[in-house]
Symmetry: C2
Subunit: 194 residues, 2 copies
DNA sequence: GTGTCAATTGACACCATGTAAAGATACGGG
DNA sequence: CCCGTATCTTTACATGGTGTCAATTGACAC
């Protein structure tokens, strides 16, 4: 609210990201965030109307902080579809750790808050678009396996990139970011590339 | 609590499953369940100490209701590892719709309740064991692709079967249960079977 | 000095979980 | 017939987190 990009607002957003990242996205209350930001709980509500709104703002904040656009441009600039596929998976594997805390919190909020649900859907749609453009590239170069159509391959690819999958492989199974990236690339290539 | 398998207890468990299934696992309160079961809210607490305990009991209840053991036996009785793989994926694809509501509720509860977390981990470990036994079978028949070890293939296979993946493919993308089963089998086979 | 904006403080409504205590109802055995 | 026991109901309340409101403080500009 009020002005855009106040100092306080940034403090709050940073505190939100840090708290959620540290805690793995669970058990963080508005008062915790306020404390971490060094402001009163009400100051948070002065800048963000609700918990959900704060979370959504925090994701946008992180997108800028992590240079989302720049990274995507690098992916798009690949010469071949296969190369784009590899870059997309690598991008995603590097990106998730940065947004994991907030993403998790949003995923939880989805179940009770329609706005959080919409915000999450939005992000996931963007991810899907990326998958589609990779798959379309494969098809145009006649590299898409005949078992798959553009739609089905997009949907399957997209589902492989879901955060719970990443969560399971890295946090539960202990795969490093590099292993996630290389093995996920392997899986996707094996499945969809001729 | 009290006696085992009272009429009331079953009524509550059935109401729990129905409510959660109908609602997709979100926004179901203890009072809703009580109302659906035709008992008072306190009667629920008389039989189950907490919401989490109720959810856990409901999953066990469903396992019996859906003949979990019988289905698993059919999977295990397959002659070849490849056949076991197919049967395992099919089993899972048929099983999820029945437990989806409760599973979802448990997945949400995980974030705030340690007992729910443990209960969920337990189920997921069982799923992983199943994946491992399939992969081990492949390896023993020398059918496991050389890029994968028993561990890594198990972990990757396991992750593909995660509920959020199923959720995305069926509920979001509109794949039917049959399509989920056949395409997931295709993916897993393509990835891990020589 | 006065007006204004940002933030603090403290109180409160709301809602869901879980607890506690006092009755109602039924049922089986002396 | 009445007693004891077990089950369920009713009502009230503690707790904890979100979100709202209003009065107040402090700083800075004009």
């Amino acid at each position: 609210m009020s002005r855009e990009n106040t100092e306080t607002q940034k403090k709050i957003l940073k505190a939100t990201v840090k708290s959620l990242t540290d805690s793995g996205g669970a058990g963080v209350r508005m008062s915790d965030i306020a404390k971490a930001a060094g402001v009163s709980r009400q100051a948070v509500y002065l800048h963000f109307a609700s918990r959900t709104e704060l979370l959504v703002a925090a994701t946008r904040f992180m997108d800028e902080e992590l240079n989302l656009e720049k990274r995507l441009e690098f992916v798009r600039s690949a010469e071949t579809a296969e190369e784009r596929l590899t870059r997309y998976v690598h991008f995603w594997g590097e990106y998730i750790p940065g947004i994991y805390g907030i993403a998790k919190a949003l995923m939880v909020a989805r179940h009770t808050d329609e706005a959080a649900n919409a915000a999450w859907d939005d992000r996931m749609s963007a991810l899907k678009s990326g998958c589609r453009s990779v798959v379309r590239g494969l098809k145009e170069e006649d590299k898409l396996k005949s078992e798959w159509t553009e739609d089905t391959a997009t949907e399957a690819f997209w589902s492989l990139l879901l955060i719970p999958v990443w969560e399971n492989l890295t946090l539960k199974c202990g795969w490093t970011s590099e292993l996630y990236q290389s093995r996920m690339t392997l899986m996707v290539s094996t499945n969809f590339v001729k």
